[in-house]
């Protein structure tokens, strides 16, 4: 049985697909984290976000996170899906869904997966404003 679903796509992410993947008769709870494109950054209005990826490596790093989450938490299955390309305000760049016998593990696995993804997965976003654009995190 496949316990992880990893995907990077330029198509719209599908929450139902993630849910259907993790859903399981042995599970008492499913937790989801959905990242959404916000309309401002530090008080400045964002018009859109452009996500670029080093896709083969990003897939491997996302797979590592999913495998580690299965090891660390008592979860049954986990899906980590990320979008690439140009996204508009309210669009969804990332969905993480985990199922578990008991809810706590599912919550923890989602938090672990998004926190780690933001640190290790080679994906970059460029914020577009009405008067220019900037790579996020490039100048810490």
């Amino acid at each position: 049985m496949k316990r992880t679903s990893i995907k990077i796509t330029s198509e719209k992410l599908n929450l139902q697909e993630c849910y259907s993947f993790v859903e399981d008769e042995a599970c008492g709870g499913i937790s989801a984290f959905i990242g959404t494109v916000r309309n401002d950054t530090q008080g400045k209005e964002v018009t859109q976000l452009d996500f670029s990826t080093y896709k083969p490596m990003a897939i491997k790093e996302m797979q590592k996170i999913a495998d580690l989450a299965l090891e660390k938490f008592e979860i049954k299955k986990i899906a980590i899906h990320h979008a690439e390309g140009m996204l508009q305000i309210r669009d969804i760049p990332v969905i993480i869904v985990a199922s578990a016998k008991h809810r706590k593990a599912a919550f923890l696995a989602c938090e672990f997966a998004i926190d780690t993804l933001k640190e290790t997965v080679p994906i970059w976003k460029k914020e577009h404003f009405s008067d220019g654009e900037v790579w996020v995190n490039a100048h810490p």
């Binding site: 996500f51 990826t53 080093y54 490596m57 933001k118 080679p122 994906i123 970059w124």
Partner: protein, 80 residues
Amino acid sequence: MKIETLFFGITTDLVNTSSMVVEVDRILNIAEFKIFLKDKFPQLENINSYAVAVNEAYATDDVVLKENDTVAIIPPVSGG
């Protein structure tokens, strides 16, 4: 020795390309390759830090490069 080098995020803009094959005349580890790159592209100084991946896996400074390795320059990531 030929090393395919990939650039991502802000580094693509800094060097004006997303990939190139660079020729190095001796065996280098990652730390030495970073110095080589900085000489070739002084504009990389404009970012505080970047990680390096070799053949799609993060590599530490002591990893030694081999012929036909693919090196990726990974500026601070910002997915999610």
